[in-house]
Symmetry: C2
Subunit: 266 residues, 2 copies
């Protein structure tokens, strides 16, 4: 499971202030803690700081990469902020995200050709976020074509079948689970990723819904996820899920986490 | 999700003593608490009391049915204990279990024809418990034929693709998950059931593995389960899982459980 840590996001209380004050240690510490907790990629999102987004992104990439070795996910719909982040990034970055929307494709395509990042591709287009699994799958296939044409190998593609909250549509969970299975079955190389929190929007005890969805999605082929890696229960369930899917030979990773006292059972 | 409560089993400390002492209130209370916590069926197993098993089974069925209204699962490999339990049981009981083993088939078939119970059928035969998904599926199909021949409708069949511990076979979880999907896809009517605890045998923090497996199995089509219904975390995850699978319109059941303070998030 590829874990993308979501905590460096200026929409989270305290983060914008740290970016504003150029608080190097705060940011580096938050990146390090996520990596120590299991994150394989650190997402960086300064979308709330619209007037300084591109420059803030550049500063964050530089600041974080001088403290940790994992790649960063440069997270913005703004092509200028993406460009600044990708340009500053050493090694292969992750671009978060492209969609099937005409304007977004036009904006992002040149960046793909120039920087050859890994890419998170959201299965939506000018028609918005689909309700059903089949439309998500069809859009994902068009995105695969597009990304292949831009020189991105399938192993660097991360399809995100965007979630709608089940509180407003009882079929929303099933549609995304089906979409994950369809996309994963279309290619062994292509990855399927999702953010965990939307699905539970509007419901109480959201952690329960997120935990349940994560495991169900893993059973359908989800192999990467954007979440809070400091949530020990989620990370513990991922380790249990990997052991159950035969992805953890002799349960070695699970047992190592247990011995390091990292597993939260309750 | 059909929940079979597993707590009335004389291999659990305290239960054999209650049966020995004919402690009506203890047994009735344990049955009631399981039903209140969400059990749809109460399993009854007195397998450790080999000298008095059949008579104990009769007494338990009578005692429990005078306190609660849900069906009982008469759980034994012993045909005489099964007969006594089925004979005493009012309404349609669940028989737990038949297998594809020649001797077991010979013993159980007459009971099916006489009592027409719901049936838990374990996907094993004279070759033992299969390692792979395909053999489990093949055995399940032979069991479906056998049960149909005995007059059991598919909607009363519960196939159990027996779990091996992942601690001794890293592929064991994947094999069972695949088997659940194959069996469920073979018929809309047939149910797939499993006991939760074997899969985690030999590992620490077994609750984590059981929680993860339950959700993964639900995503594959598991629609019934044998577990401890007093484990609030498991029951809460089942409710979250049902909402995610579109089986809980408007998340009404989930919200009702929340308002009754029944959801355990952590």
């Amino acid at each position: 499971m590829l874990i993308v840590g979501e905590k460096i996001n200026t929409s989270i209380p305290g983060i914008s202030e740290a970016v504003e004050g150029k608080d190097v240690l705060f940011i580096q510490n938050l990146a390090k803690r996520q990596v120590e907790a299991g994150a394989n990629v650190i997402d960086v999102n300064v979308g709330t700081r619209i007037h300084t987004e591109a420059e803030d992104m550049r500063w964050l990439v530089k600041t974080i990469q001088s403290a940790i070795d994992v790649p960063l996910s440069i997270d913005s719909p703004n092509p200028e902020a993406l460009r600044m982040g990708l340009k500053e990034h050493k090694g292969r970055a992750m671009l978060n995200s492209i969609t099937g929307e005409s304007k977004r494709v036009k904006d992002i395509l040149p960046l793909l050709k120039e920087f050859r990042p890994s890419v998170i591709a959201l299965t939506m287009d000018d028609g918005g976020i689909p309700q059903d699994a089949e439309t998500r799958y069809q859009i994902s296939q068009r995105l695969v074509q597009l990304l292949s044409g831009a020189g991105i190998p399938e192993d660097n593609m991360y399809m995100d079948p965007l979630m709608r909250p089940i509180s407003t549509d009882s079929e929303a969970g099933l549609a995304v689970l089906d979409a994950i299975g369809k996309i994963k079955n279309s290619s062994k190389e292509i990855h399927v990723i999702c953010g965990l929190s939307n699905i539970s929007f509007g419901l109480p005890k959201r952690g329960l819904i997120n935990q349940a969805f994560l495991l169900m999605a893993m059973a359908q082929g989800l192999d990467s996820v954007i979440l809070d890696p400091l949530d020990r229960k989620l990370i513990s369930l991922i380790k249990a899920g990997e052991a159950l899917l035969g992805k953890d030979k002799y349960c070695a990773g699970y047992l190592r986490a247990f011995r390091a006292d990292e597993l939260a059972e309750e």
